[in-house]
Amino acid sequence: MSVDLSQFIPNFLAESFEGLELMESSLLNLEQDDDETINAIFRAAHSIKGGAGTFGFDHVTEFTHLVETLLDEMRNGQRAIKQDDVELLLVSVDCMKMLIEAIRDESDYDKDKIDETYQLLLVALNGKEPDLLEIPSKSTDTTTTSKDGMLEWKITFIPEHHLVQTGNDPLLLFNALAELGELTVEANSSNLPSILDADPQELYLSWNLTLRSENATEELIREVFEWVEDECELTITQNKPIECEGHSTGTAENNPSTQPVEATKESIAIDTVTENAQLEKPVVKAAAKPATKSKVDVGSIRVGVDKVDSLINLVGELVITQSMLSELGTDFDISKVERLTSGLEQLLQNTKELQESVMRIRMLPISFAFNRFPRLIHDLGNKTGKDIELVLKGEQTELDKTVMEQISDPLVHLVRNAVDHGIEPANVRVANGKTAKGTITLNAYHQGGSIVIEIKDDGGGINRDAVYNKAVEKGIVDAGASLTDNQVFELIFEAGFSTAQEISDISGRGVGMDVVKKNIQALGGRIQIDSTPGEGSTFKVNLPLTLAILDGQLVKVGSETYIVPLITIVESLQTKAELINRVSGDMVLYRLREDNVPIIPIYELFGIESDAKANTLEEALLVVVEADGQKVGLLVDDLLAQQQVVIKSLDENYQQVEGISGATILGDGSVAMILDIPGLIELAMQNANQRLSSKLQSIGTEGAMI
């Protein structure tokens, strides 16, 4: 019986986290008499308890057991569903999460918090009579080592029906137990069939035993049952309260004596499979610890079978195409060229589909990121005393896993911000003729090649004047400067900027919005603000679907090929001499209908030698791109193909380069740089400033000479 269970621990962890998520979201939606939801919560808790028991994570089992008992009372209608209990359960879910995370990371957890919650659960389970409040602590002294230093063990022994056929007699076991101490035996005959159905060679009884002993340990008791452990369900419990980091004698079912015994029995009856597995605990204990370590950092994705199926189909097709082509190649002559081209076309198609399928495996519905928000809103609502409703839309919109992981934190920050700054207190809302309940809407949808996530609140909107004044005060903007609404809203993203009157612990320290923007930009995304006074604000986050592959336009500058992300391109055009204007001191602008677009000559910016064609601005090719709401025209020599390129990092072996977001490998094996449009614009601006200041300097020196 020495199966190495530790290999299943990652599964247990993954499933537990899923279960906890389910518990949390269900608890938030829990309403009176909602049997289905409470059953779902109970099941989740139950399987976590079972799993933890199997792997010998006793502290998790002990803790979860209380949660389960509380849930069970709710489920049976013994206990009305009260907000207090729900809150307590939410805190308990946090604690369970903390315990399981501690297992995953092999780290410590906040023992005080666990103990405190544990006591609260005990109190909740025992009703709120004040004298019972004392019991948990008292029980520590009284029952664990009762007056005379005796330990009390509860043993549940449910043998399989054929136990006696293998020559085992429960009586002998009980006699052996009695040698360890004072034994009380209680038989459970409820499973006894009618006399007509009963097989005399089968055993239908189960037993609850209580052993009071000075020196019995769990190992000693288990030793007694050693010969029958495969043929029974056995639970050994020491009567004492939780001991989280306790020695190994504390077992799965550490029922505090204060708890009704019925509850224990009941849960044992349900726990058939899982608790049986607890027998392997001593084996696991040794093996489990070192095994988990190596698995800490390995991320995993749960993928729908349909995605994998389609992948396998595609690989099948690819193999067929490959064999067709290689057959063609063995005996090739020019007459078969048509078949070759069609074969190659097929190959192209296959590769493309394969690529898409592989990409789809990395795609997860955004609900993974959205899931945490109901709880966040719930907690923040409690904290701020605001009544807030959260509406989630487009949860099935899929997003690359890496993007999802990195966007989570900025989203949380934006939502906190919406709660703290966006939604007004209820009395203000009512006074302004709005409903007392505020609404925050999270919406995700696809737009072109990117995904848009909207965080919208129906609060008071951004106070334009307050932001403006603050910016003037901080010296970010000159007093009296006229700014558009958008420019004012952009100020929020300045480092250290906050308009909150009071610093709260939710937000308002001015730390964050600049980080939010930076994180989003690091993902190649952008953020826009839209706000109407009195009606609320919308933060719109625009993100690329994936970080690994990008649709690019290949352009030629001199002898170099560059890739312009297709998503940034507004249009490409041939310049006309009459539309080029040199204004305000040699700034070159191109008139694009109503817009004046500054021209960035890439060859100059990057210091590349270019064909004469691009040097003369007339009849050159201009790729108009847009980033951060700024349009610029990139002067290039030639437009080449459009293609999807795989992004390779430059700083892996080299370092980050301004204006370049990465590199890729072209069909001929050569490397091409991918342009980072926002970076490029910034670079051009820096250059222009530098040129200006050095010009001023030279004028200054000349002036001095005169």
Binding site: D586, V671, S694
Partner: protein, 184 residues
């Protein structure tokens, strides 16, 4: 001669005594190469491969000794011209010009960088005791790049500090600004 015997003659590990202090050293092998008539060497264990010269893709606004990047089996590898980096000799490309690709592993991160040299010459066996410290008498190569000197016959080979080679200067905005001003 049997190859095994040859291998046997190369000292790999041993104990040495110098002025009463015991050293346990390992005999190291170094790849030597020429840079403008001078002999240099790097630890052979760092050498990933030796490639013929091919024109790399230019990195915009990089220092002049950074030739650009190449594709080495899907990995983007920067190419540094050692002659320009050390300001010894001219960057001329001949038939013997090669790129020594080093994989430098330190501080838990590994970098793969290619270095352009005039030619590779030999594999050198040197004990730690053979390596003399370089006198601080100027020369174009900054001191921190030099791990030591080894006498080989009448020649002196400069051992390069591979870890120092890994350090790449950050791009200098200033240089570009000047260039821009020149252009306008």
């Amino acid at each position: 001669m049997d190859i095994q015997e040859l291998v046997g003659e190369i000292p790999i590990e041993g104990e040495y005594s110098l002025e009463g202090i015991d050293f346990i050293t390992s005999g190291e092998q170094y790849l030597t190469f020429t840079l403008a008539n001078e002999q240099y060497a790097v630890d052979i264990l760092c050498v990933e491969e030796i490639r013929s010269w091919e024109k790399p893709t230019i990195i915009p606004n990089s220092p002049s000794h950074v030739c650009g990047v190449i594709n080495m089996r899907g990995v983007i590898v920067p190419i540094i011209d050692l002659r320009l980096k050390f300001t010894i000799g001219e960057a001329v490309y001949t038939d013997t010009t090669v790129v020594i690709v080093l994989s430098i592993d330190s501080d838990g991160c590994s970098k793969t960088i290619g270095f352009v040299v005039d030619a590779v010459s030999d594999v050198l066996n040197a004990e730690d005791t053979d390596i003399k410290s370089a006198p601080a008498f100027g020369g174009c190569v900054p001191q921190h790049f030099i791990a030591g000197l080894v006498n080989v016959g009448d020649n002196v080979v400069t051992l390069l500090n591979v870890e120092a080679l890994k350090q790449l200067e950050s791009h200098q905005l200033k240089a570009r600004g000047e260039q821009w001003i020149k252009n306008t």
